[in-house]
C-alpha cells in the first residue's frame, strides 16, 4: 500500500502538466454538472416558495355556527394532505382587505355591511402542493353544507406543475449529458497518463508485478485526481455563486448554495469518476499488452 501510494504521488511529480490537465478537466466537467445542480437547487428553492402559497380556500355561508366550523376544521385538519386549517372570520377578511388592497381602501371604509364571507384557509403539506391534490381536497371540502364556494387557483397551480416538470426534466437531461461527457473526458485523460507510462507498466509486468499491483497506483492516482477535481469544481461553483449573488441579477438575491452533504456528494462523485475511469483505462491497456 505504501509503495502504491508512493508511485501514485510520484506520477504527479513526474508529469505535473498532465496531472494538472487531468485535475482541471475533471474539475471543469464536474463544475458544469455542479452548475446545473446549483440551477436545479435554486429552481427547486424558488418553486418551493411558490408552492408554499398553494392553498385551498373554502368560503362559508353566512350564519354558520362557530361550533360547526370548529368541528369541520378539525375534520379537515385530519385529511392526509392538509397541513393547517385557519379560520378567517368576515371581520378579519375585511381588515385584511383594507390593508392589502390599498386602492379600495375608501370603498371598504365606507361599507355599511361587510360583503366578505368568513373562510377556512387550508394549506397543504409538502408533496401535496399540486393541482391533483388541491382539487381532491377542494372536492371534499365542497361537500360540507355550509361551504358556499371553494377556490384553489386551479390555473396557476396547473401551470406550476407543468413548469416544475419541464424544469426538472431539462436540468436532469442536460446534467446527465454533461456527466457522460465528464466520464468520457476523464477516461481520456487517464488513458493519456496510462499511455505515457506504458513503458513503466511493461517493465512492471516483465519483472513479475501482479496485475493488481500494476493497477494500484493508477487507481489511487485516478481517485486522487477525481477528488481534487471534485473539490476544485465545488470551489468554482462557489465562486460562480458568489459572482451571481454579488451582482444580484434579476431575482437572484435569494440564491442558495450546496449543503455540506451535496458538497460531499460532488467530491465523492468526482473520486468515483476518477477511480472508475482509471479502472477502465488501465484494464483496457493491460488487456492489450
Amino acid at each position: 500500500m505504501r509503495l502504491v501510494s508512493r508511485e501514485a504521488l510520484l506520477s504527479f511529480r513526474r508529469a505535473p502538466l498532465l496531472s494538472a490537465l487531468s485535475v482541471t478537466t475533471i474539475a471543469f466537467s464536474l463544475f458544469v454538472v455542479g452548475l446545473f445542480g446549483l440551477v436545479a437547487l435554486n429552481l427547486r428553492a424558488a418553486l418551493r416558495g411558490v408552492e408554499e402559497r398553494v392553498e385551498v380556500v373554502a368560503f362559508l355561508l353566512r350564519g354558520t355556527p362557530p361550533e360547526t366550523i370548529a368541528t369541520a376544521s378539525e375534520d379537515i385538519s385530519a385529511f392526509p394532505e392538509v397541513q393547517t386549517v385557519d379560520y378567517v372570520s368576515a371581520e378579519q377578511a375585511l381588515a385584511r382587505a383594507r390593508t392589502t388592497m390599498v386602492e379600495f381602501r375608501d370603498v371598504y371604509r365606507d361599507l355599511q355591511v361587510n360583503p366578505l364571507p368568513a373562510s377556512l384557509e387550508i394549506s397543504l403539506k409538502e408533496g401535496f402542493r399540486d393541482a391533483e391534490h388541491a382539487r381532491a381536497v377542494a372536492d371534499r371540502v365542497k361537500a360540507y353544507q355550509f361551504v358556499e364556494d371553494v377556490r384553489y387557483g386551479r390555473d396557476w397551480i396547473e401551470r406550476l406543475d407543468k413548469l416544475r416538470n419541464i424544469a426538472g426534466l431539462v436540468v436532469m437531461t442536460i446534467g446527465l449529458a454533461f456527466a457522460v461527457v465528464a466520464v468520457v473526458i476523464i477516461g481520456t485523460t487517464i488513458r493519456m497518463t496510462v499511455l505515457q507510462r506504458a513503458r513503466e507498466i511493461a517493465i512492471m509486468r516483465l519483472v513479475g508485478a501482479s496485475d493488481w499491483f500494476v493497477r494500484g497506483p493508477f487507481l489511487l492516482e485516478g481517485a486522487l485526481k477525481g477528488f481534487l477535481g471534485g473539490a476544485l469544481a465545488v470551489l468554482l461553483s462557489y465562486l460562480g455563486y458568489l459572482l451571481f449573488r454579488g451582482n444580484q441579477i434579476g431575482t437572484t438575491t435569494g440564491l442558495v448554495f450546496f449543503q455540506p452533504v451535496h458538497i460531499a456528494l460532488i467530491i465523492l462523485f468526482g473520486t468515483l469518476l476518477g477511480l472508475s475511469a482509471s479502472l477502465v483505462s488501465v484494464g483496457r491497456h493491460l488487456r492489450n499488452v
Binding site: 511493461a202 509486468r205 516483465l206 519483472v207 513479475g208 499491483f213 500494476v214
Partner: protein, 230 residues
Amino acid sequence: MIQFSHVFKSFPKGGFALKDASLHVAKGEFVFLTGHSGAGKSTMLKLMFAEQRPSSGDVRVSGFDIGDLSPSEIPKLRRRLGIVFQDFRLLEDRTAEENVAFALEVTGSRREIIPGRVQRVLTQVGLAGKASAYPRELSGGEQQRVAIARALVNDPAILLADEPTGNLDERATRGVFQLLRDINAGGTCVVMATHDLDLVRQTSYRTVELREGSIVFDSGLDESNGADLQ
C-alpha cells in the same frame, strides 16, 4: 527447466513464426539461440516468459505450462525468470539502484531486505560505484549491466536475454557477455538470443539455430552438424 515439444506459433495474418520447434534446456545450461532477424529467436523467448502463447504444442518453463497459464499465474512465472533486452528497458527517471530496487518492490519484497540485495547485485555486475547514476549518465554497456542486475535481483533460475549485446560496442559486448558467463557459472540457466556469431564461436556453449521458424541445428543434439552453423 525449459521444454518445447512440437511448438507452432502462427502469425495473426497467416504464416508461422515458429514451426514444430522442440527443445529441452537443462538446469544450469547456457544456450545460444541464433539465426537471422525474423528466424523465430524472439518468438521462442517470448513464449518462455509467456508474452506469447503457443498456437499448438507444449511449452513448459520452470514447471509452468505456458499454454495453460492463467493471467494471475504469469507474474509467478516471471518472478522465477530474469529477462534482459537489447534496449535495456530501464526507467529513465530512476537511478540505477532505484531501477534494480523496483523489481523487488513490485514483487512485494520486504523493504528492509531491498538495499542489501540491490547493493549485492550492483557489485556483482560491477556498478557498485554508479548506484546513484541515472540511465542517461551511463554508457550502453553500463545500462545493460543495470538491466542484468535488475534481472538477477530476484535470484532467478533462468535468465533470458534477447540480443543483450545488440546495441553495444565490442568492448562493452565482451564485458556483458563475460558477466552472463559468470552468472551461468553460478548455476543460473542462461538462454541468449543473438546473431553475433563471433560471440557464439568464442565458446563451446550449446547453440540452437533457427531459420524461418524452424530449428535447423542444435549442437546439443548433433555435434556433427556444427559446420552447418552460419
